[in-house]
Amino acid sequence: MLNYILRKLALIVPTLIGISICAFAFVRVLPGDPILAMAGQHGVSPERYEILREQFGYNLPIWQQYFNYVGNLLQGNFGTSLATKRPVLNEFMTLFPATVELAMVAMIFAIGVGVPAGVLAAVKRGSWIDQIAMSVALTGYSMPIFWWGLLLMMFFSAYLGWTPVSGRIALSFFLKPITGFMLIDTLLHGNWPAFVSALRHLILPAVVLGTIPLAVIARQTRSAMLEVLGEDYVRTAKAKGLSSRRVVSVHALRNALIPVVTTIGLQVGLLLGGAILTETIFSWPGIGKWMIDSIFKRDYVAVQSGLFLIACIVMAVNLIVDVLYAVINPRIRVQ
């Protein structure tokens, strides 16, 4: 097992180098000049332009700029935002809990609905339940997030008034962040109404963000279940006279969940990468919205470091999933 983990860790080094090159190259192929982008409608004088180019190292040859960038990364220096002049890592870490919280709740929703729906569709294969579940899953998968988010917001928030329109908590609650996770912080403050408010604010964004993973998980669960339900050991279990419920939940589902866990892992990785559209629609102060804002502001330092940090997180999540997968399925380790 240790060998397996070490092999996976060794693979991370070239991946990190690749990511650093991609992030570095990405902002340099973006059109526009970062110095000019920083100046307002009055522009910047040629003298000041040269001073700033030198200050940011944009006057150096491109390879030297790259090595300086990697050197800084190795020292944990992710640079200072061109727009806010604050350390990029500080901004990232301030906003990251909001993204994690939303991603987690969205995944709980996706798994909580997706797995039972997939199981039910497989067990009732060909029935109207199967048809409806799979049609809904396909619709969910194909739905443009932006449109879906606005639609839900207009109906549940603006028309019915059941859920808040956007934000993380009602503005009447003024709680100092402790962990950055609103649900946890409200409980740590012992403020129950604030917890309820934070939960209500999470409902719509989590449903919107969880819709696609839900569809993927439901379809994956269904096909894995169908495969397993046709196996000999399931027939044996049925022949032994076990109840259908026991056959499905103990014999079939446990084995069917192995590929589902991989799917879930990959989806978590994607969601932590910043749910750009969902965060933008709901003004959710997470890293997805922060990245978009930074791109619009041509804040190249923030975009470059943000890309690198997000890629690292996705990689870390994938590593954890790989290890968990190996724990669940010993054959993987041998391979």
Binding site: G40, T80, K85, G167, F282
Partner: protein, 531 residues
């Protein structure tokens, strides 16, 4: 005794609860997060809303809803006869805000004013570059280093600005956001502690509200400054709920999550206007969207060709289709809300037949040209690509072929200002200080060629008028000069003036006394809310 204590506690809690209920709160759904809270180096309207209009004051300020200047931290000012000295008398007893990180020991004095400006141009000042890569865009952009020779303290409450040459717009410049007065005592405290960057995140000003808390990309909380020099404001708490998407802002306003919002999406305006709980204020923006001809390039060096091309453009159709009613035909470079607007100028006529004839007379046939379209939506032109398509069609009707070109925004402006640029160029301007010089000299003076004079137009007569107006202190005389300049501008047609956009401000009916500023900023100093 125990019962007495319980009763007293209960009474105290009830009193507190009652107090809390009476606190007047306004929630403003702002459009973006501020970069930080030091207005000197900032450039964005949302940055200024969150800093200079809440936390700070200036020596002089624009009157609410107008572009005239009124006393603020300076009670009065005097301009010397030669126009080279402006002496400000500071208001006595102005307090700086007391916060958890700073307790002032003295009132505002001349040293604060001198520090405010010297940090923006004296490179040996430790505050000149106290943040990485910072620039003093507005101070530089308004040519302040060129005009200011020195700023001296005559006494504790008197400051004299000594200028290199007379400059009438200087007073208006000092009402701009970058000229917000900061505390030298606070700067000294931070310098001693070595934490200069805190100056931008933990602000201290003299303004009507003081910062309580900022959660990145989420919410900014302010409370009324109790010792504000003009008396404590009506609002107790002011909250900026940062909501970047305009449609979401509108939904939040409808749902009552915020009381007031800026920049609604054009498609939402009718819905907001139709809501019984809301009121939508509107005003012409202090801006201009225009299309510059490069007058050094043939055939655009011929005034009749320029006039013909302008005449062929159906501006009313553009305003209808692109501005969706939120625009006004621009016959002059400056908007009608600005003093010295020359209303006697005749509006542009749309006459494709006459345009065709004029082109033929100029000997121009089968003209093919580039037509530049901005890649971004701006307040003065919401969709330059669409405008370009409409102009392209209009010109096709008179036999002119236009190829639409566009680049990334900074690249676009860089290429546009090259004097050898080919083809008419769409651009625009939003006024900084309400002074006509900010439009005429910035956009069409000879010295602005290669910078922001995209027409490369240098007209001696026009230049003489605007330069004279810049150094004349008499407002009536300045008005006459600018009015004449507009006549020359129109006669020579260096650019087609397209439209001034309208700005909308939807709010809940419980919001009282909100005044829209033609300068586009959002101030809640005088706002009240019904209980």
């Amino acid at each position: 005794m125990k019962l007495m204590k319980t009763l007293l506690t209960a009474t105290a809690i009830m009193a507190l609860a009652a107090g809390a209920a009476q606190a007047k709160q306004l929630v403003y759904c702002s459009e973006a997060s501020p970069a930080h809270f030091d207005p000197g180096p900032l450039t964005g309207g949302n940055d200024f809303d969150a800093s200079s209009h809440t936390i700070y004051n200036r020596l002089v300020e624009f009157v609410p809803g107008g572009t005239a200047v009124e006393p603020a931290l300076a009670e009065s000012w005097e301009v010397s006869e030669d126009g080279l000295e402006i002496t400000f008398k500071l208001r006595p007893g102005v307090k700086f805000q007391t916060t958890s990180y700073f307790t002032p020991t003295r009132d505002l004095n001349a040293s604060d004013v001198i520090f405010t400006f010297e940090r923006q141009y004296k490179e040996d000042n430790p505050w000149f570059a106290y943040l990485d890569g910072m620039t003093w865009d507005y101070f530089q952009g308004m040519d302040m280093p060129k005009y200011i020779k020195e700023i001296v303290a005559v006494d504790d409450l008197t400051v004299k600005f000594v200028l290199n040459e007379p400059n009438s717009p200087m007073i208006a410049n000092l009402a701009m956001d970058f000229a917000s007065i900061v505390s030298k005592e606070y700067a000294d405290q931070l310098e001693a502690s070595g934490d200069l960057a805190a100056f931008s995140t933990q602000p201290v000003g003299t303004g009507p509200f003081q910062l309580v808390d900022y959660q990145l990309d989420t919410v900014i909380r302010y409370q009324a400054f109790p010792d504000y020099w003009d008396g404590k404001r009506n609002l107790d708490d002011l909250i900026f709920a940062i909501t970047t998407d305009p449609s979401v802002r509108a939904q939040r306003l409808i749902a009552g999550e915020c009381d007031i919002m800026p920049y609604p999406a054009p498609a939402d305006i009718a819905v907001l206007q139709g809501n019984d709980d809301l009121v939508v204020l509107e005003q012409e923006g202090l801006n201009i969207g225009y299309m510059s001809y490069n007058v050094t390039e043939a055939p655009f060096d011929n005034v009749n060709v320029r006039k013909a091309l302008s005449m062929a453009v159906d501006k009313a159709a553009i305003i209808e289709a692109v501005y969706q009613g939120a625009g006004q035909d621009a016959k002059n470079l400056i908007p009608p809300t600005m003093w010295s607007y020359n209303d006697s100028i005749a509006a542009d006529v749309y006459d494709p037949e006459a345009a065709k004839k004029l082109l033929e007379e100029a000997g121009v046939t089968n003209l093919t040209t580039d037509l530049w379209a901005m890649p971004v939506s701006r307040p003065y032109n919401p969709n330059a690509q669409r405008v370009a398509e409409l102009i392209q069609a209009d010109w096709a009707a008179i036999g002119v072929t236009a190829n639409i070109v566009s680049y990334e925004w900074t690249e676009y402006r860089e290429r546009g200002k090259q004097t050898d640029r080919k083809g008419p160029f769409q651009i625009g301007w939003t006024g900084d200080n309400g002074d006509p010089d900010n439009f005429f000299a910035t956009l069409f003076s000879c010295s602005a060629i290669g910078v922001s004079n995209y027409s490369a137009w240098c007209n001696d007569e026009f230049e003489a008028l605007i330069q004279k107006a810049k150094t004349t202190s008499d407002q009536a005389e300045r008005t006459a000069l600018y009015e004449e300049a507009q006549v020359i501008f129109k006669a020579d047609e260096p650019a087609l003036t397209l439209a001034h956009s309208k700005v909308f401000m939807p709010m809940n009916k419980r919001v009282l006394n909100y005044t829209m500023s033609p300068l586009g900023n959002h101030s809640f100093k005088d706002v009240d809310v019904t209980e």
